[in-house]
Amino acid sequence: MKARVTVTLKSGILDPQGKAIEGALKSLGVEGVASVRQGKVFDIELAGTDKAKAEAVLKQAADKLLANTVIENYRVEVTG
């Protein structure tokens, strides 16, 4: 099974990278970008075919490692 975990910074947490990218885009003449926040995606191959079980595994992976829940939120989706 294929799945994707998306990890994003909680709102309110400062994102120096996003800030820098906003600046860079402006200086590159890319117009109309109001704000940028950077996050991570993990494309994961899973053994087995049980969707519910897969989601459980992914949640576990995210809680235990993929996300730092102090500053990050995550979303899990089994894409098939």
Binding site: P16, L65, I71
Partner: protein, 233 residues
């Protein structure tokens, strides 16, 4: 002082740290592999050294923070044992929940290696008694993600409880954004936990401990620890 230096895959300043500890405490530290589940009996000081544990992949320190030895380190800290976490060690300590907050990419998004100036904010802790309060020391830093960030309440608490031990300042000891090379909140370079027995700091005092190498400003931190342990004994 009996010290133990943790060795994770990808750590690379463990030798520098071992040399500094041996030089100043007169005793070589035990090098403890990440897969171990216990610290050597009678360990006074645990050091989480600098480097790129697990290549800094995912998040700096994230993977190392979850390795077996860290449970032993938590237990050691809960018993009041001393933990010194430098650079990647600081990142690991935050990820392991030993210290609050997180270290983000440097404000200018570049790895920076240069001597920085630190103001010692108080001298009444095991990690700073080797200095005078207000003293400015020069030590090298070498990191890409040393930009200390935490939520407002945490920062407020750290400040209120005097848990910021080291701050980036100008050579004259003045707070100045120009000398806060990584953009850390309140120019924070080093903090301790509530109990005051765990220090995390980004710069590398262990690289400034030999007169023949030009600067000994880093010695005080280790000398202070040795003295503290001696008195406690």
């Amino acid at each position: 002082m009996k010290s133990a230096v943790l060795v994770f895959p990808g750590i690379n300043r463990e030798r520098d740290m071992a040399r500094a500890l041996t030089l100043i405490s007169g005793r070589a530290p035990a090098m403890v592999w990440h897969a171990e589940t216990a610290l050597p009996a009678g360990t006074d000081l645990v050091v989480i050294p600098g480097g790129f544990s697990y290549g800094d992949y995912l998040r700096c320190g994230a993977i190392a923070a979850r390795s077996p030895i860290m449970d032993a380190v938590r237990a050691h800290a809960e018993k009041g044992g001393l933990v010194l976490a430098i650079c990647n060690g600081f990142q690991i300590a935050c990820e392991a929940g030993l210290l609050p907050g997180v270290l983000m990419r440097n404000a200018q998004l570049k790895f920076i290696c240069k001597d920085v100036y630190l103001r010692v904010e108080r001298s009444d802790t095991p990690f700073s008694r080797g200095y005078n309060a207000g003293q400015v020391i020069r030590v090298p830093c070498a990191h890409g993600e040393g930009n200390y960030i935490a939520d407002a309440e945490t920062i407020a608490r750290l400040e209120a409880e005097g848990r910021v031990l080291y701050r980036y300042v100008s050579p004259e000891g003045v707070l100045d954004p120009a000398w806060n090379h990584n953009g850390a909140t309140n120019a924070i370079a080093g903090i301790v936990n509530e109990r005051g027995n765990v220090l995390g700091m980004m710069p590398h005092p262990e690289n400034h401990v030999e007169a023949v190498m030009g600067c000994t400003d880093g010695r005080g931190l280790f000398a202070g620890l040795v003295e503290h342990v001696a008195r406690a004994a």
